[in-house]
Amino acid sequence: MLHRDLLDMSEKMENIQSQSSQTRYDKGNLSLRSSNQRSGAMNSDEPNPLTDELAQLMMLVANNRCKTSFAKLFSHFAPKINSFGVQRLSQQGLAMDLVQETMSRVWTKAHLYNADKAAVSTWVFTIMRNQCFDMLRKVQHNREDAFGDDIWPLFESDDAENNDDDFLLSASLLQHVEELPPLQRQVVQGIYMQELTQQELADKLNIPIGTVKSRLRLGLEKLKSFMEKHYD
């Protein structure tokens, strides 16, 4: 019933908003919530209509800031996040906070979602778990900190091996990074140690992305020559 209500609401939304044509794509046969017959949890090779549909909605949110698609994602995820929150946080008020915080992040971080790396469900689960972790710290220890995303990084669920290499490599590169000129060092650290994208770094430093690229290239060339000197 809830589902029906939310669908009606998202249809209403469609009427009041004049969205681009893509947002009208699927009202007729929305299949959200109908995939419980799929049981094999690890069988992610099989095409799954729910997975594809959620990914499509995320794309529309990320690229078009489509509120209708957000409403559909909300109607799928919110009751389930709420039930997770009720189990984990015990108080209903906090469960509703968890829904709000999680869905806010789905909206603001949508552009970082990568369908090749994880299903939308897994991505939202990660956001929810991290958020819940921070909320529990607040309840239990009265700490206003946000460590969830450090403990379970959001956007690299399937390249653990690369991370591993990166970390071990950084350990030996670290002292050479310190020897770089400050502007190059800033860019190299931003990309490789804080794991920002080139665009994020450009925004943060308020410089064009081309400048990020050229400083990065210079920095990496210099590092390469440090390393060669060191290991020859």
């Binding site: 939310l6 609401m9 939304m13 015990s90 460590f147 969830g148 950084s170």
Partner: protein, 230 residues
């Protein structure tokens, strides 16, 4: 080659987000060294997310009141919150680049796993070859620290009331049981007595004095009903 790993129980509590901060840091740091455990965590997370979000039968029906609250929340999002979130993101002040993720002790600099990014807030203390940097996790039940032992140093024989977790981050050390390498994750209970020694020096992450604290999920400590649900 890493020989000591967290067990399945700890990994699964970690994937659910049920461990306290001190222990979550340890598992996450181990997984940065250990592709095998990282892969298991990824699979557990995938399975949990499918169970939570793609299967109806595990979800308790929300009450009428909750329906109403969710409807209100969605309306609030559509009419207001989403737009203000977008404005907030655009006008957010540029935060300065975050401090780098390393520590220096006795003239030596160590790169730490990413999970320590926000955790190093105090300085080193200690005498002789043993130095300790306390982490402020806010957990009265456990004391988490970075522990540095300089070359040819050792920790005198000790036992502990609770369990003791040691994650080796750099260097090597040995005790009467074995020799350990970076990434090795050792959880000893109170019956073990040991005195680690190192020849080349080492850096560890340790948590001590935590009777039963690690292996119980947070929500169980918080909520007695948790036992029935997990």
């Amino acid at each position: 080659m890493i020989n000591y790993h967290p067990d399945q129980h700890l990994l699964s509590l970690h994937a659910k987000g049920e461990l306290p901060l001190s222990m979550s840091i340890a598992i996450s740091a181990h997984a940065e060294f250990c592709a095998h455990c990282q892969q298991q965590l990824d699979q557990m997370t995938l399975a949990l997310s499918e169970q939570q979000f793609e299967q109806n039968q595990t979800i308790q029906p929300a009450s009428i009141e909750q329906h109403g609250q969710l409807d209100d929340l969605l309306n609030q999002f559509l009419n207001n919150t989403l737009d203000s979130l977008d404005t907030e993101v655009k006008t957010k002040p540029q935060s300065s680049l975050v401090a780098d993720n390393s520590v220096t002790i006795k003239g030596q600099q160590y790169m730490l796993p990413r999970v320590f990014k926000q955790q190093i807030t105090s300085g080193w203390q200690g005498i002789g070859k043993v130095s300790r940097l306390r982490l402020d996790t806010g957990e009265p039940q456990a004391r988490a620290s970075l522990l540095h032992i300089a070359a040819n140093g050792e920790i005198p024989d000790h036992t502990h009331k609770g369990s003791e977790l040691t994650l080796l981050l750099a260097g090597e050390f040995s005790d009467c049981y074995n020799t350990y390498k970076p990434g090795d994750f050792m959880l000893l209970d109170q019956n073990h007595e040991h005195s680690p020694k190192t020849t080349e020096g080492c850096l560890c992450y340790t948590i001590v004095d935590a009777p039963l604290y690690f292996t119980k999920g947070i929500s169980k400590l918080l909520n007695p009903i948790g036992d029935l649900l997990y």
